[in-house]
């Protein structure tokens, strides 16, 4: 394979992976938009949703039923989070809510491991290794379809939150809890809706990534991949999540190949997105599509 095709393949692989990063980042964006807090537990929710789904299938449930049951579990989690964590902390500074989500992470991970065990599980949806070729490019069908499905989900969510009353209510809640309440926006309902949607997104991420890596605890670590995506795309923008994902995916794969081919160095694809994010913070701290930060002084 000559170098040109090598970089082309790295770019395609990176874009496909980037779409999947954006899926995880999307869960963060939804909750950040609704509560102004970075949900540290999003990775744990991906793990919980993925493991619940595959474990229910192992118990004999049809995938569709397992999916519905998992959605019910994630909605139940959303209700519990709203009642036990968010409601008592209304109008508290964002850092308090952030700390609460750190605690939530351990509870979600621990509960999931207690119920379903620590053994990794197989999730094969179709043939995960069948591929097609374009020139010297080699593209795995499952990753290609997953990228299309994720892109469709992102577009649907972007429309839902931009063109509906819930979307406007959501932005108001994110801006100021008290003000939103004073104009009659049902804060608690909005939170439950958003956390439920984030739970569904976590389920999709769990299935897509679980099919790629197996369903195991490491799904919780996907949150680390989402952070640079958020910094690049902006914490409040759904289109930003997908653009940020593509940038991170393509950037890290090209960097890995370049560093290895040119300098004989490897293992850079994990820190490279953070380097990109750091540089980006210096010139545009709100991200590509984030809301401009205006502070009264």
């Amino acid at each position: 394979m000559d170098l040109l095709w090598l970089y082309a393949q790295a770019l395609v692989d990176g874009l496909l992976a980037g779409v999947m990063y954006s899926l995880v980042a999307l869960g963060f964006v939804l909750i950040f938009k609704a509560s102004g807090v970075l949900n540290f537990a999003q990775g744990a929710m991906v793990f919980m949703a993925g493991l619940t789904f595959v474990s229910l299938m192992e118990l004999g449930l049809h995938p569709a039923l397992a999916g519905l049951a998992t959605v019910a579990v994630m909605v139940a989690l959303a209700l519990a989070v709203e009642r036990v964590v968010l409601r008592p902390l209304v109008n508290q500074p964002p850092i308090i809510l952030f700390m609460a989500t750190i605690g939530l992470t351990f509870i979600v991970e621990g509960a999931t491991l207690s119920v379903w065990g620590s053994t990794p599980k197989l999730l094969e949806l179709g043939d995960p290794y069948a591929a097609f070729e374009v020139g010297e490019l080699y593209i795995v069908y499952s990753e290609f379809y997953a990228a299309i499905a994720v892109a469709a989900l992102v577009i649907a969510l972007a429309l839902f939150f931009n063109k509906t009353r819930i979307g406007r209510a959501l932005r108001a809640v994110a801006d100021d809890h008290q003000a939103a309440l004073s104009v009659g926006i049902p804060l608690t309902t909005i939170w439950v809706v958003v956390w439920s949607v984030a739970g569904v997104v976590a389920l999709v991420a769990g299935i897509v990534w679980g099919g790629r890596l197996g369903v195991q605890f490491s799904l919780a670590l996907l949150a680390l991949k989402a952070l640079p995506v958020l910094i690049l795309g902006g914490f409040t923008s759904i289109p930003g999540a997908i653009v940020g994902g593509l940038l991170v995916g393509a950037g890290e794969k090209l960097a890995e190949v370049y560093m290895s081919e040119t300098f004989g160095l490897g293992g850079v694809e994990n820190f490279f997105p953070y380097l990109m994010a750091m540089l980006f913070l210096m010139v545009r701290p709100q991200g590509l599509f984030g809301e401009r930060i205006i502070e009264r002084v």
Binding site: L122, A131, Q216, K253, S260, G267, V268
Partner: protein, 442 residues
């Protein structure tokens, strides 16, 4: 009576009641159990720890412990974090009749975190298939035991296996071997030895690092399979990195029969998530998989059938579980040896260290323990804390691991020993340690 007097009186009554109800402390053999049942490596921690605990529970139920002295253990969750390992160590080292007898940190990084403390406190560390390789030299590291095989022996045994598959050592010349490794001290540890062997035998080696945790290896495999095009790939990872390597190999259409993992990439938990991609995948091992051994039958009978299992029953006989059972067998035998010398009763860490340096698992002894076929012969000494260094290769058939090398593969002892002594001598010089004279030990 005022409230202060009532409080004092109540406390006195409570203390008196406790003094009456608590029996005098009986002798026990205390084994701290640092474990990780949470976090990304929970499958390994719970499997190995659970296997060891089940073995101890079986000995207690069947024999009353070792020569009638019960084994006591207490879990401490490390979550595979070195700082927590130190906390667990400090909390547990003085528990039991005579303190901790032996500790299994269950991780190379965790071992490094307490290596010097344990030597100072005279508590032996048993590091089964991990840990500090040069601790094989017991003259410098009296309290560390990297049994049954250390990482360097494994690397040389892998080359021996590749030579066997290729038709002899002379066929190694011209082969291309890629080594994909966890980008950490653990992953890099054997790099120099592979380079040395590449020079010795004339094969080409390239090392490909993968950043922790190893979730994404596409770009790395792009270079391995499409550019370097090796004859063999060596996988040195842990946790999710191992199964991801197998899946990426499949996506890159690299034959799994030529993907050779180390034993930390050779559990069911590494193969199952990869599904059909793992069929044909091979790894090294230093014990057998499966439950078809008398010792496992005894564990099921005395522990699981009574509802006292320390791990899910369907994991009995898995790789991690059997590794835990082997760990239990070695500890128990070291305690027996120590009692032969120091008398039947509670043991200190220092006494168990003596037992660990005088292990002799002959085939006959292994048979007596119900572990024939499960483990290799092991013989330790002050000079050799590894005890044998024998390796087998196993292959995943889609449902289970099966051994594909009937005979144990011997490592290149001469090469490995020379490197161990060099490294241990350097450590001794840095730390101001005067090595023991092993010829004077008995």
């Amino acid at each position: 009576m005022n409230s202060g007097k009532r409080l004092v009186a109540g406390g006195a009554i409570l203390l008196a009641a406790l003094a009456v109800s608590l029996p005098a402390a009986a002798d026990e053999l205390f084994v701290p159990m640092p474990i990780y049942r949470t976090g990304p490596y929970a499958a390994g921690g719970s499997g190995i720890g659970g296997g060891t605990e089940d073995y101890f529970a079986m000995l207690n139920a069947r024999d009353g412990g070792i020569n009638g002295i019960p084994i006591a253990w207490e879990e401490c969750e490390t979550a595979y974090q070195p700082d927590r390992m130190v906390e667990c160590y400090e909390r547990q080292k003085n528990e039991g009749t005579k303190g901790a007898t032996v500790i299994n940190p269950l991780g190379t990084g965790l071992t490094y975190a307490i290596l010097e403390r344990a030597a100072q406190d005279k508590i032996p560390l048993l590091t089964l298939g991990y840990g500090r390789t040069d601790a094989t030299d017991g003259s410098v590291f009296p309290y560390a035991f990297p049994m049954v095989v250390n990482y360097w022996s494994q690397a040389t045994a892998m080359v021996e296996y590749i030579a066997q598959e290729s038709g002899g050592k002379d066929k190694l010349k011209g082969l291309k071997i890629a080594r994909i490794y966890h980008d950490s001290a653990y992953g890099k540890e054997t790099e120099f030895l592979w380079d040395e062997m590449a020079e010795m035998y004339g094969f080409e080696i390239r090392h490909f690092p993968v950043a922790h945790p190893g979730l994404d290896q596409k770009a790395t495999w792009l270079q391995i399979a499409r550019r370097f095009k090796p004859d063999w790939v060596i996988s040195r990872g842990f946790g999710v990195m191992c199964s991801t390597t197998v899946m990426e190999a499949a996506r890159a259409q690299f034959p799994r029969e030529r993907l050779l993992g180390i034993w930390w990439c050779g559990s069911e938990e590494d193969a199952i998530p990869a599904g059909s991609a793992a069929v044909g995948y091979r790894t090294t091992t230093f014990h057998a998989p499966g439950s078809d051994f008398p010792v496992i039958d005894e564990i099921v009978k005395y522990v699981h059938d009574r509802g006292n299992g320390n791990v899910e029953r369907d994991r009995v006989g898995s790789i991690y579980y059997n590794r835990g059972v082997l760990q239990g067998i070695i500890i128990a035998e070291a305690m027996r040896k120590a009692m032969e010398k120091f008398g039947v009763g509670a043991l200190s860490g220092e006494q168990v260290q003596w037992g660990m340096e005088h292990l002799d698992f002959t085939l006959g002894r292994i048979q007596e323990l119900g572990a024939e076929g499960l483990m290799p012969p092991i013989k330790t000494s002050c000079y050799d804390h590894e005890g044998g260094g024998l390796v087998k290769v196993q292959e995943w058939d889609g449902a289970k691991w099966k051994i594909i090398t009937p005979d144990w593969i011997k490592p290149d002892h001469d090469l490995v020993r020379a490197e161990i002594e060099k490294s241990a001598a350097k450590y001794a010089a840095e730390k101001g340690i005067t090595p023991r004279d092993c010829s004077a030990e008995n």
